[in-house]
């Protein structure tokens, strides 16, 4: 009873923060339209709410065991081996998290002494509290979930104690080799510690061994989640996606795409891929598409006579297909992180490459359709028009969002709350797929847990980036490659391989935060357009989602379709192959990206 209440309270607070970052910018847009001016303090307030949303959401994800992990732990044999792995990874994760929490506490003290304010009436140190509270809760929960047995938990608790001690005596780490610590962190990651602990642990031990205190990581986490207003777009677009995923939106869209392309060989396959691309726009490639749509699309495909293996492969590959189209979160994040390419140019640049990837998958669909003589539906204009009418609200969402931007009502980042509001009104009042506010809160709580996991990774990834820049890795990388790589083509090939590796081990958001600053100076040296670089980046990472053994989509599809990872991997191989051709085309034919931009008189 008490536990249920505590859980609900925690969910409500985080959902409230989500509501706040949605309402504040909307109020600002309204005030600008009505009174021609902004509302004082709303910007910084919304930004700090994003920090709280991220940390509390992550704590909720930790509570529910929803923090993203590597796929490797799936391969461990069940039984005692996996039980021990759980305890070990839990203890090491808790150790890392404890030191991060103490770094957060140090930031609270530091900002308190400096007497800084976020905005009138809100001291910075109060906002900072999100860090020690969030990391602290996560550490405790990692211990709790390390084992169902009290004995196991007691062992995992050692992690927290060790964290406190290590933080106190961190001077002993200075100028020591970092390798054993990296080894420990990587082992924990392989055994199933969350990805944020892996990235955070690497950043932490790298910093500690060269004498930087953990407060630096807290400073970077704070900056990452508060100063860039673009970050707030991630939870809001995800919320829009979650709202649409509830109820009948996906059915309506599937019916629409089928009605229009179902007559063609492979029609249902094409419709399924297009639908996945449309959804991924909003969920940002965190793999939600597979979880949400898998249950609808697999039976639809198999019902029309497609083979199971093909269907699973197609859906696994489609799960990250939308990332190159306008409104894609990774493209926005690249624009924000790089500060060199405008987000609109990225959206325009991504159009043809996105269509290319979709087209390549569609070709596989057509081939499969012809081979298996899967069912084709005759084209009926009345059905096509009716389906279009039925899905008009869903289809209008991207139009609405882009219209608000192009019409000078909101910036692109501000359009995220508009999208969330639109989806909310559509699902709550127009389609009534969410009959009561209670349902909206449930969706919000689900969304907050997922988003918290992503924001947490971004927050610690910022610390890792900071360490790399601080130790001048980008500069050295430029020097090294200038002496070793003399042609642009070789550089691009090396970039492809490197990004594919990154894409297999890192999620797309942290990959962008950590790797983009490393690559930017190199791109400048080799004369690669920043928009083109962004598209290459996202296309490669998209491919990384499917790459064995660690691709995230493989794992999620395995969970969703209840098939072993190896079987899913096998099923996805043809798609991986054809999309790899797409990535190479995108990399070596810059026209695909830049042609449209130049035609419109944009770009550099």
């Amino acid at each position: 009873m008490l536990k249920a209440f505590a859980i609900q309270t925690e969910n409500r607070i985080a959902s409230l923060a989500l509501g706040g970052i949605m309402v504040l910018p909307l109020a600002e847009i309204a005030s600008r339209r009505l009174f021609g001016t902004a509302i004082t303090g709303s910007g910084p307030l919304a930004a700090n709410l994003t920090l709280w949303l991220g940390m509390l959401g992550a704590a909720i994800a930790a509570r529910d065991g929803k923090l993203l992990t590597l796929a490797t732990a799936e391969f461990l044999p069940k039984g005692p081996v996996s039980a021990v792995a759980h305890v070990v990874s839990g203890a090491i994760g808790a150790l890392i998290c404890t030191i991060l929490a103490l770094g957060g506490a140090a930031l609270v003290r530091s900002d308190r002494m400096a007497g800084d304010h976020v905005t009138a009436g809100l001291a910075t140190w109060v906002a900072d509290l999100a860090l020690p509270i969030g990391f602290g809760l996560i550490a405790l929960r990692l211990v709790w979930r390390a084992s169902p047995l009290w004995y196991g938990r007691a062992v995992a608790l050692v992690g927290i104690v060790a964290g406190v001690l290590l933080n106190q005596h961190r001077a002993i780490l200075e100028n020591q080799s970092v390798l054993p610590w990296f080894g420990m962190v990587i082992v924990a990651g392989v055994l199933g510690a969350p990805i944020f602990a892996l990235l955070g642990g690497i950043a932490l031990f790298a910093s500690l061994t060269q004498g930087s205190p953990p407060i630096v990581l807290a400073i970077m986490a704070y900056q990452e989640l508060t100063t860039s207003t673009g970050i707030a777009a991630i939870p809001l677009f995800t919320f829009a996606g979650f709202l649409m995923a509830e109820g009948q939106s996906s059915e309506r869209l599937l019916r629409l795409f089928r009605a229009w392309v179902g007559w063609a060989p492979g029609g249902t396959a094409i419709a399924a891929a297009t639908l996945c691309a449309f959804f991924t726009l909003f969920t940002g490639g965190s793999g939600v598409t597979i979880l949400v749509l898998g249950g609808l699309l697999l039976p639809a495909l198999m019902g029309d006579g497609y083979r199971e293996r093909f269907s699973i492969g197609l859906l696994t590959a489609s799960g990250s297909l939308g990332l190159l189209f306008p409104l894609s979160l990774p493209l926005m994040l690249y624009g924000i992180v790089s500060q060199k390419a405008s987000i609109e140019d990225l959206f325009i640049g991504g159009l043809l490459p996105g269509l290319l990837m979709l087209g390549l998958l569609a070709m596989l669909g057509v081939r499969e359709g012809l081979l298996t003589r899967a069912e084709r539906r005759p084209f009926r204009l009345s059905e096509a028009l009716w389906a279009l009418w039925e899905a008009k609200w869903e289809l209008f969402l991207p139009v609405f969002v882009l219209g608000a931007f192009l019409g000078g009502v909101a910036t692109l980042v501000e359009s995220a709350p508009l999208a969330a509001l639109y989806a909310l009104i559509m699902q709550r009042y127009i389609h009534r797929d969410l009959p009561a506010w209670k349902d909206v809160l449930r969706v919000a709580a689900d969304c907050v847990a997922l988003v918290g996991g992503v924001l947490l990774i971004l927050a610690v990834a910022a610390g890792l980036t900071d360490y790399l820049v601080y130790t001048e890795v980008p500069t050295r990388l430029v020097e090294w490659s200038q002496t070793h790589i003399h042609s642009r083509l070789v550089f691009l090939l090396a970039l492809n391989v490197f990004l594919l590796l990154v894409g297999t081990v890192m999620d797309i958001f942290s990959a962008i935060v950590v790797v983009v600053p490393l690559i930017l100076p190199l791109a400048e040296v080799y004369g690669i357009d920043y928009v083109h670089l962004g598209i290459i980046f996202v296309a490669n990472l998209e491919l990384g989602f499917l790459h064995p053994p660690l691709g995230l989509n493989l794992l999620l599809a395995s969970v969703r379709f209840k098939k072993p990872v190896l079987e899913v991997t096998w099923a996805t191989l043809p798609m991986l192959g054809i999309l790899a051709i797409g990535v190479l085309l995108i990399t070596y034919v810059p026209w695909l990206t830049l042609g449209l931009l130049h035609w419109l008189g944009r770009g550099q």
Partner: protein, 339 residues
């Protein structure tokens, strides 16, 4: 604890500071000035001078282009409990986070010329040095980034025109937004990254942006904002500061050398900034930018109204005593010139 153990624990405490004193230590400096710009090069050269003049006891690493975070992050990293960065080259906006007195340099239409800015800078240096000292920082030298000008999509000729324009203001600078609103402007709080985008859109959220010419050139703003009101809005004053802790680590014999090189940097950017402004404006006019210069009468009207405006900042944006000192110094210079 045995005597040996106690000794072992105490040893690093005694030896480390002594070593640091001797070393002066590596100085890590962060700035928002982009890599490859005049300011970045000047900082790198200053680092070389430090190294040579102190026989390698003081070395400098420069992180340009905001790679160490925005200015408030940079300041957090300079605090003694963090000590990740020891120095920074900050804009007036960043310095104002340490002490509001620095806002004096960012007031729109307060200064008319470099001479006025420098006179006020000189006058205020002792008091600002003190204020920085109280926060744990040491002022090494001043710097400048040229003058902010008004770039707009529509031609602006009077203060009334400027008030009617949708004026870019930095998101997060709440006090400034408030001030603009109270004085009849129409500020739109956005991110600097939004400027080129919104200028391209029709209608965009904003149509007028006060920014330095070199930035307008590199952002290719002149393509969309075809007009520049040549009415020096404000100087882009900056300062080179070092944390007191790091300053104290530098040996007494090296400190004058470090200061001398920093002041050489100040002199250099002072000389280079106006030239950079001029060449930037020139290459933009060659590509279609129209520069609007006010005739004497219109300019005088503008200034009179602007004086009225800036006086409302006394006490709210800038501490009254600092504001008064600045006005006194500036007006004295104006008077002596008009004679």
């Amino acid at each position: 604890m045995s005597a040996l153990k106690r000794w072992l624990v105490a040893l690093p405490l005694v030896v480390a500071p002594a070593l640091l004193l001797a070393a002066g230590g590596p100085i890590k400096l962060a700035t928002l000035a982009p890599a490859g710009t005049t300011w970045h090069k000047a900082l790198l050269d200053m680092g070389n001078t430090w190294k040579n003049d102190t026989a390698g006891r003081v070395t400098l690493t420069v992180y340009a282009g905001g790679t160490q975070g925005d200015e408030s992050t940079i300041i957090k990293k300079m605090r003694p409990e963090t000590d990740q960065l020891q120095a920074s080259f900050l804009t007036a906006a960043g310095l104002a986070e340490l002490d509001e007195s620095f806002n004096i340099f960012a007031l729109p239409f307060f200064f008319e010329s470099d001479a006025e800015e420098m006179a006020v800078e000189k006058k205020l240096t002792p008091i600002l040095e003190q204020k920085l000292q109280a926060k744990g920082y040491h002022l090494l030298s001043w710097g400048t980034g040229g003058w902010v000008q008004v770039f707009s999509k529509k031609p602006l000729r009077t203060l009334a025109d400027v008030k009617k324009a949708k004026l870019f203001t930095s998101k997060g600078a709440e006090k400034w937004v408030d001030w603009y609103v109270k004085n009849g402007f129409q500020p739109v709080a956005l991110l600097p990254a939004d400027i080129p985008t919104q200028m391209k859109l029709n209608p965009g959220l904003m149509d007028t942006a006060p920014i330095p010419p070199y930035l307008a050139l590199s952002l290719q703003l002149y393509k969309d904002a075809k007009y520049m009101l040549d009415l020096h809005v404000a100087p882009l004053t900056g300062a080179l500061i070092i944390s007191t802790a790091a300053w104290n680590r530098i040996g007494a014999e090296d400190r004058p050398k470090v200061t001398a090189a920093a002041q050489a940097l100040e002199k250099r950017v002072r000389a280079e900034a106006p030239a950079l402004d001029a060449t930037s404006v020139k290459s933009m006019t060659e590509r279609g930018l129209q520069v609007i210069t006010l005739d004497a009468k219109a300019a005088a009207e503008f200034r009179a109204a602007a004086n009225q405006l800036t006086s409302t900042m006394r006490g709210s944006m800038v501490p009254a005593e600092v504001f008064d000192m600045a006005v006194q110094e500036r007006d004295a210079l104006r008077k002596s010139k008009s004679k």
